[in-house]
């Protein structure tokens, strides 16, 4: 997107992108005024940089396997005592299909999160995602930030992470927003972004 009203989304080459491996895993870097790397604009001050954690997804995966496995096992063993035992077995197979679909989704989420990094500078909020040999970044200039949203489900609360969404004028992805999912120390991140709101 090149419209100045919209956040920019670019396909940066691997050499131009922020190297996500340079970010400390799971630990936020806050407010020490460190200078940007040579790959960023020279007058940018990095205020936050981190990578998301996959612990909530691992917890959901374990929960899915345990609960789904228990239900499927109960159905295969015909715990309900159905007269037509095969009906219970078919129910168990359907539960297995659903469990596999949920696990597939969680695995993909973990894969994406492992290749994502979040950065807040003095002039913008940005996330970058690297896949194979390409890096994709989505950036909201500071002047376009209108609001900030913080969410945390029960599992994220256990691990002390949350989701912070930067809004530019709507709540739908197509209108332009940047979302920091599973970000450690999410309340502090929210406060840093709030400081960016003009």
């Amino acid at each position: 997107m090149t419209n100045s009203q919209q956040p920019t989304e670019t396909d940066a080459s691997a050499t131009d992108s922020l190297d996500p491996d340079s970010a400390p895993p799971d630990d936020p870097t806050l407010g020490d005024g460190s200078r940007a790397t040579s790959s960023e604009q020279s007058d940018e001050e990095v205020r936050y940089r981190a990578r998301p954690t996959i612990r909530p997804q691992l917890a959901w995966s374990a929960l899915t396997v345990i609960v789904g496995g228990a239900i499927a096992g109960a159905l295969f063993a015909n715990v309900l005592g159905l007269e037509d035992r095969q009906l219970s077995v078919i129910g168990g197979m359907a539960v297995v299909f659903v469990v596999v679909a949920i696990l597939g989704r969680l695995v993909v989420q973990m894969y994406v999160l492992r290749r994502t990094s979040y950065t807040i500078t003095s002039s913008a909020v940005r996330y970058e995602f690297s896949l194979w040999f390409r890096t994709r970044s989505r950036e909201v200039p500071r002047s376009k930030i209108r609001a900030c949203q913080h969410e945390r489900d029960r599992v994220q609360k256990v691990f002390g992470v949350g989701t912070v969404t930067v809004l530019t004028g709507g709540t739908n992805a197509s209108l332009g927003y940047v979302e920091f999912s599973n970000v450690p120390n999410s309340e502090a991140v929210r406060d840093v972004i709030r400081e960016q709101i003009p």
Binding site: D84, R85, Q86, L87, V89, I90, G91, M93, A94, V96, F97, V98, A101, G104, R105, V108, G170, T171, N172, S174, L175
Partner: protein, 279 residues
């Protein structure tokens, strides 16, 4: 669906692993002028009918919908057939059969749309007809079509006769349960079917029935997501909207019974058509 092969793969991937991405609409497209909304509605309709056609053509080639006489082909069809080098009667039969195969999925989609939107409307939080249209076009285009395809497979495959017979028995029992509840003295053409046990079901049959049940779950879940994302409803309101859709087969059969009783017939024609072909 139009698009690169990669976008088709991604679409199929999202259909299995991320239904929310499939059914969610873009709100900025709905908050536009009336003309823009009409354009969007036309685009959604064209997308839906294209999917419907893609669903019906393989069924027609498999021989569904080709029974009975179709009469003489109209002049336009004769003209097209002569240009294409095909037999006019065969072409006309193919077109009629395709239209017939489209009809049931189309009726089911219309019923889904009406009941879904009524359900959403009754929560008094509806954000518009276009949002419901978007939800139903994508959920029926993928998941309901998959359900119909599995039912067709179960009904026609010789290797899984037990599963197919059981499915027919479930449908017949469902209709008779409503007939008995209504106290109507009606019968289906095949009469009451003896209970079918799944004891002799093959692995393929069990697998197909499990996949059918899973697709039913996906279908309900996609409508639920549509209510939550496109209409911004809460969990309870979304479940209520989906509940209306779940109740629609009952409404369909009740309507058929009422129509039959009023016409003085003893055979509920519409309801019996549910059993004679896949849904």
């Amino acid at each position: 669906m139009a698009g690169t092969p990669l976008s088709v793969v991604r679409y199929g991937f999202n259909a299995l692993f991320d239904p929310a991405d499939i059914v969610s609409g873009r709100r900025n497209q709905y908050a536009l002028t009336r003309r823009a909304k009409i354009r969007q509605a036309i685009r959604l309709s064209l997308f839906y009918f294209l999917n419907l056609f893609l669903y019906a053509v393989p069924l027609t080639y498999a021989g569904f919908g080709t029974s009975g006489t179709t009469g003489q082909p109209p002049a336009a069809v004769v003209g097209i057939a002569s240009v294409a080098g095909t037999n006019p009667e065969t072409t006309w039969q193919f077109l009629v059969a395709t239209a017939q195969n489209c009809t049931f999925l189309f009726l089911a989609s219309v019923l889904t749309f009406v009941t879904f939107h009524v359900g959403v409307f009754l929560t008094r939080n509806s954000l518009g007809v276009l949002q419901s249209m978007h939800t139903v076009v994508y959920s029926t285009g993928i998941y309901l079509a998959a359900i119909f395809s599995f039912v067709w497979y179960l009904s026609t495959s010789a290797d899984i006769a037990v599963a197919g017979d059981w499915l027919v028995w479930v449908q017949v029992e469902f209709i008779y349960a409503i007939i008995d509840l209504a106290g109507a003295n009606l019968v289906l053409p095949a009469g009451r079917v003896e209970p079918v046990s799944l004891a002799g079901v093959t692995l393929s049959g069990a697998f197909a029935l499990a996949a059918l049940a899973t697709m039913g779950g996906y279908y309900m879940y996609s409508l639920y997501l549509g209510a939550r994302i496109n209409h911004d409803l809460g969990r309870v309101s979304s479940c209520l909207a989906v509940g209306f859709v779940v109740a629609s087969p009952v409404l369909f059969v009740v309507g058929s019974i009422a129509g039959t009783v009023l016409s003085g017939s003893a055979v509920p024609a519409l309801a019996s058509s549910l059993v004679s072909i896949p849904l």
